[in-house]
């Protein structure tokens, strides 16, 4: 029984990492229907900038704050310089732009910083917490709490605030949104800033566990994307559930079946879910426009 609990705790830890990345996708997707493949780079930037600011002597919380603000700025720049000029381009072109942006950010990071692997100290030490024969690190609790907090804030944002509804309206129909007085440019800028900040926050929280380097973004984005699709793209609830489910699935497969095929098992389940529910677990139903 302690094994099962250990697998579960491991799955929740990893799942919370995926969920945090997946949550970052939702805002940009909701505002613009673009899946931002550079989302993983925001996570990487959060970790890398924090590490270097911390190594330069800043206290960790200040370093993390700088990282989040700087990354949000980079998100805004991405929107202004690459996404806005390409408005109206086909979705597949936008995908290539965000992939190009992710390669660009990775290339810049390796120049500005380095190609080494880095880690900064966990927030509340490394003493494992014992739960019924299984253990979890305090940092995992930070990651889980972070995922829940971001989820809750996003849920409030989209359902309770005017600006959140404006984001949804912009995604739904840009022209109509403009007609009712929504500043769609502002909405887009805000969405990129928020997504980038969430990504950077994720990077700050997970780096003591996963470690970071200039090229961790792609793998994280891939898993986060898969988690978001499993849950249903655009829905914060979907991102949270999808991430946790993916993490637990991997841990259970590694624990009980085969660690070699744990990623395979995750994708088999994603395929199965999508075949049964083509919009993911909590996705919006959409109809073709003729």
């Amino acid at each position: 029984m302690p094994e099962l609990l250990q697998f579960l705790l491991s799955g929740i830890t990893v799942g919370a990492v995926y969920a945090l990345v997946a949550l970052g996708f939702t805002i940009i997707y909701n505002a613009s229907d673009v899946v931002n493949f550079a989302q993983g780079e925001f996570v990487m930037l959060g970790g890398m900038i924090t590490f270097f600011a911390h190594a330069a002597g800043l206290p960790l919380p200040l370093a993390a704050l700088i990282a989040i603000i700087a990354t949000a700025g980079i998100g805004v720049a991405l929107n202004k310089l690459a996404i806005e000029p390409a408005r109206g381009a086909p979705v597949v072109s936008l995908i290539i732009i965000t992939i190009g942006a992710s390669i660009f950010i990775r290339g810049a990071t390796q120049l500005v910083f380095d190609k080494q692997i880095h880690r900064f100290p966990a927030f509340s030490g490394d003493q494992p917490i014992l739960i019924g024969g299984a253990t979890i690190l305090p940092q995992s609790l930070w990651v889980i709490a972070g995922a829940l907090a971001v989820f809750f804030c996003l849920w409030l944002f989209f359902t309770r605030t005017l600006i959140g509804r404006a984001v949804l309206a912009t995604a739904n129909n840009r022209i109509a949104a403009q007609l009712v007085g929504i500043n769609t440019n502002y909405v887009m800028t805000l969405s990129f800033a928020m997504s980038a900040a969430i990504g950077a926050l994720a990077g700050v929280l997970v780096t003591p566990i996963t470690l970071t380097s200039y090229d961790v973004g792609l793998a994280l984005a891939l898993k986060g994307f898969a988690a978001a699709m499993l849950g249903g793209m655009g829905n914060p609830k979907g991102a949270l559930v999808g991430g946790l489910l993916l993490g637990i699935l991997e841990a259970m497969t590694a624990g009980y079946i085969s660690s070699q095929y744990k990623d395979a098992a995750a994708f088999v389940v994603i395929l199965a879910v999508l075949f049964a529910m083509p919009q993911g677990l909590f996705g919006r139903k959409s109809t073709d426009r003729v």
Binding site: G88, P90, V92, S93, I95, I97, G100, G107, G283
Partner: protein, 318 residues
């Protein structure tokens, strides 16, 4: 009509392939050329899927992997000639695409993207995990095709790189010819109809599911043959050929050049294959430049290079 008739496209393609070697200062350029053709072939398949039928796939490297490993495994385990192994790989890819395609193609947009991505990752995972069979991540050797020796016997003596330049160039021209014929066939028209609007196509009696599947299977065969050519040319193969990055690379080539036209997509393959070679002068700035070029092209030429350029030239002429 995008550029001009299919004959013009084929003539341009064949002429470029035939004349380019005149300007090659060393046989390294034959190597780059043959890589362009191999990538061009896979991307031509994606033109059918993305450009004609309007579907997306982030997992086509999986089929390239099947084609590549068929050439590595079948000669050793089944005693097949490498050429037959490539055919077997293509048949296997078609069969798998047929089985996987039906459920996957019900999905739309990003959901289709993630499902195809999952398929590609499964293939590459099997290739790197079944190490007893495939040599694992370190890869395995691929037997010689043997065609060069045959040519030599009848008096055509080509160096290795020259032979692969000519051979993959020929396969590409055939592939492009088939794809262009398809465009003008009833199947091609049905595909374009469902690209425009699935609902509208369905209303006028197009069996949408069937035609999407046709496009998927055909593009899988193209990717598989391209993987086989790569394996036979390199005589060594690793699971990278089926990797996610290779899938992304293929789609990027197609879209960058212009997924709507065969010539455009091949141009995209040419640019993205040559770019890393050209960018080496930037040393550490290589990645930065690659990302920048991708973004700039897509921002300023959103339909891809070739369609955007032709439109502008026409715009000026009028």
């Amino acid at each position: 009509m995008r550029l001009s008739s299919k004959t013009t496209t084929l003539l341009i393609l064949a002429a470029v392939i035939a004349i380019a070697p005149v300007f090659f200062p060393s046989s390294y350029y034959f190597r780059v050329g043959s890589l362009i053709f191999v990538n061009g072939l896979a991307v031509t398949g994606l033109v059918i899927l993305i450009g004609y039928a309007g579907q997306i796939s982030l997992g086509h490297a999986g089929f390239a992997g099947i084609g590549a490993y068929a050439c590595a495994l079948a000669p050793v385990h089944l005693g097949l000639h490498p050429a037959l192994a490539a055919v077997l790989g293509a048949a296997l890819s078609a069969a798998i695409a047929f089985l996987v395609g039906r459920p996957i193609l019900r999905l739309k947009g990003y959901y289709l993207a993630v499902a195809s991505l999952g398929f590609g990752i499964l293939v590459s995972m099997v290739l790197s995990n079944e190490a007893q069979l495939t040599g694992g991540p370190d890869g395995m050797a691929v037997p010689e095709l043997g065609l060069r020796a045959v040519l030599k016997a009848i008096g055509i003596d080509l160096s290795n790189t020259e032979f692969w330049y000519a051979f993959s160039g020929l396969v590409l021209v055939i592939g492009a010819w088939l794809a262009l014929n398809l465009y003008h066939s009833p199947t091609g028209r049905a595909l374009r109809a469902l690209h425009g609007s699935e609902v509208a196509a369905r209303t006028v009696g197009v069996d949408v599911a069937h035609y999407k599947l046709v496009a998927f299977v055909l593009s899988a065969v193209y990717a598989s043959v391209s993987g086989s050519l790569l394996a036979l040319q390199n005589k060594f193969i690793t699971p990278d050929v089926a990797g996610f990055m290779h899938s992304i690379e293929m789609v990027t080539m197609a879209v960058l050049g212009g997924a709507g036209s065969v010539l455009g997509a091949i141009l995209g393959a040419a640019i993205l294959t040559t770019l890393p070679q050209v960018l080496t002068v930037f040393q550490e700035y290589e990645q930065l430049m690659l990302g920048l070029v991708m973004m700039l092209v897509m921002i300023f030429m959103r339909e891809g290079l070739l369609p955007s350029i032709t439109r502008r030239i026409r715009g000026r002429a009028e």
